[in-house]
């Protein structure tokens, strides 16, 4: 039945290539190898969200039992979102788990992920820290998400304050990403971040 997975992916690939979204550059899909079992997706951050202007790359692994099982999808581009792990890129989305349906396609999955970026579900979080910030310190969350989008996905918004704090930690010998992650987690409180790193 692996044949069905491959033949379907081939068709879906064509479908995505012909779709409106390609024309609008909002989703993209490309092959990683010749076996059609691993693909690379890309979604544009939806407008009016902190992710606007960013391009997010996704790893898509197609199981042999596709389409009776969902594809395994995770973010390769780092992202600050309550339903996506800021560490691993793992996604918490029902249709990629127990709410999958065999008629769904790569295109609908990518569009659903785009919708997820626009409408987070903090009550069903993948990353508890991000979800807490989203609910309790929403302004800070928006800033962090925009900053991450700028740092990793080519987003337009820069935050000199964030950059300087990261630079301070870097001067102490901390890797840039680790510094950003800790600062984001500690709501950009430099003292707490330092404490957390060196205690």
């Amino acid at each position: 039945m692996a044949n069905m997975a491959v033949s379907r992916i081939k068709r879906e690939f064509k479908e995505v290539m012909r779709s409106e979204e390609i024309v609008q550059c909002s989703i993209k899909i490309e092959l990683v190898n010749d076996s059609w079992t691993e693909l690379r997706g890309e979604i544009a951050g939806p407008p009016d969200t902190p992710y606007e202007g960013g391009k997010f790359v996704l790893e898509i692994k197609v199981p042999e039992t596709y389409p009776f099982n969902p594809p395994k999808v995770r973010f390769i581009t780092r992202i600050w979102h309550p339903n996506i792990s800021s560490v691993t890129g793992a996604i918490c989305l029902d249709i990629l788990k127990d709410n999958w349906a065999a008629a769904m396609t790569l295109r609908t999955v990518l569009l659903s992920l785009q919708a997820l970026l626009a409408a987070a579900e903090p009550d069903d979080p993948q990353d508890a820290v991000v979800a807490y910030q989203f609910k309790d310190k929403h302004e800070l969350f928006l800033m962090t998400a925009k900053h991450w989008t700028n740092a990793y996905a080519g987003g337009p918004h820069t935050f000199p304050d964030c950059d300087s704090k990261i630079q301070r930690l870097k001067d102490m010998g901390i890797e840039e990403h680790d510094a950003r992650a800790v600062l984001s987690k500690e709501n950009w409180n430099l003292e707490k971040a330092t404490e957390c790193l060196f205690s």
Binding site: M4, S7, R11, P67, D98, W100, A101, A102, A103, M104
Partner: protein, 364 residues
């Protein structure tokens, strides 16, 4: 004359096979059921027509190319135009509509004589292929008339009951053919929502639709069954349509796509009644207990034929105490049961040979 030579060869073969040189009268009407095995000749170019023997001279078969006048005795070469004999009688010089036989042998008195004999029968049907080449000179008096529906000579000229029956059958056949072609037309470009293949282009048994009673999304039977049997998801997910998530209790196999509500209702009713005609493998004609009770699609009948109402499904109650869970569980069992049973039922229906059916019985 190579055609003649091969005809002679054929005649010789016939002779060695002990076959009569007389042309089979049923073959002429296109209804000989013996085919190659027939004792009479199925080769109209070498054989004699029945009733000709008195006229055809013995050397016809032996020296066909030299005894020219005898070619007239090959009535099959006569073209089908009605009343050609009359025409030639009236105007022998006419060049139009002459048969090969006439070109070879010239219009002959034999021909007329042959047909002017006493009538064979007033009641019997003319056995020759219609329209009868002898036209009004035929010794048989009853000739079937052309049916415009099937374009065949099969209407009795006087038997009104036969005519009505034939026309009714013809109409019925015509309607069926139309229905079939409509069914093919509406099915032919439908793609399965799971494998994305065009269902009518799939091979053999995979070329079947799996119809969900509660929505109108298109799947091939194999894909939708596989989806519904997926164990990795909750039953509420798998029993739902993969496109619209509307839940359906069973999948109905169908050779064609059903578009309208009427077509679909008819299909589902036919399906239910087909299952209802089969004995339930759990009920075992009263010897066993069916866990699905009166929700079972299969027949619960005693050996004497009496249908038994076994009441609501019971099995789940023993497993689970809570009433709510009970209902869920029953649904789950039903779902699995139907899907599995559907499959066997399909096996049975689509198999023409007895051995497969008896395999099925063993499973029962």
């Amino acid at each position: 004359m190579s055609a003649v030579a091969s005809s002679v060869d054929q005649a010789i073969t016939n002779a060695t096979l002990g076959r009569s040189q007389t042309v089979c009268r049923y073959f002429l009407r296109g209804v000989c059921r013996y085919g190659e095995q027939c004792r009479y000749s199925h080769n109209v170019s070498t054989g004699r027509l029945e009733g000709e023997r008195t006229i055809s001279s013995p050397d016809v078969d032996a020296k066909p190319s030299t005894s020219r006048p005898n070619w007239v005795n090959a009535p099959i070469f006569v073209p089908r135009q009605k009343g050609y004999v009359t025409q030639n009688e009236d105007d022998e010089a006419s060049g139009s509509a002459v048969s090969w036989a006439e070109i070879v042998g010239g219009p002959s008195e034999h021909c007329v004589k042959l047909n002017m004999g006493e009538p064979f029968s007033l009641e019997e049907l003319c056995p020759y292929e219609c329209p009868c080449p002898y036209g009004e000179y035929c010794r048989y008096r009853i000739h079937l008339e052309l049916c415009e529906m099937c374009d065949q000579y099969c209407l009795h000229p006087t038997d009104q009951a036969q005519r009505k029956k034939h026309i009714r059958e013809c109409l019925q056949q015509h309607e069926q053919a139309m229905e079939l072609s409509f069914a093919i037309a509406r099915s032919k470009d439908k793609t399965c929502g799971i494998c994305f293949d065009i269902i009518m282009e799939k091979a053999g048994r995979e070329k079947r639709f799996g119809i969900l009673p509660n929505c109108n999304h298109i799947f091939c039977l194999e894909c939708i069954r596989r989806w519904r049997q997926a164990k990795q998801f909750e039953h509420k997910i798998t029993r739902a349509c993969p496109e619209c998530r509307v839940s359906s209790d069973f999948v109905c196999p169908s050779a064609f796509w059903v578009e309208t509500k009427e077509e679909k209702d008819k299909l589902l009713n036919d399906y239910r009644s087909a299952l209802g005609a089969k004995d339930c493998k759990y009920f075992k004609k009263g010897d066993g207990k069916c866990p699905f009770g009166n929700k079972c699609f299969y027949k619960h009948a005693l050996p004497n034929g009496d249908i038994v109402d076994v009441g609501l499904p019971k099995r789940a109650r023993k497993v689970h105490g809570s009433q709510n869970e009970l209902i869920d569980l029953v649904d789950i069992y039903l779902l699995e049961y139907f899907d599995q049973r559907d499959y066997h039922w399909l096996e049975l229906l689509s198999s023409d040979d007895i051995s497969e059916s008896s395999d099925y019985s063993d499973e029962e």
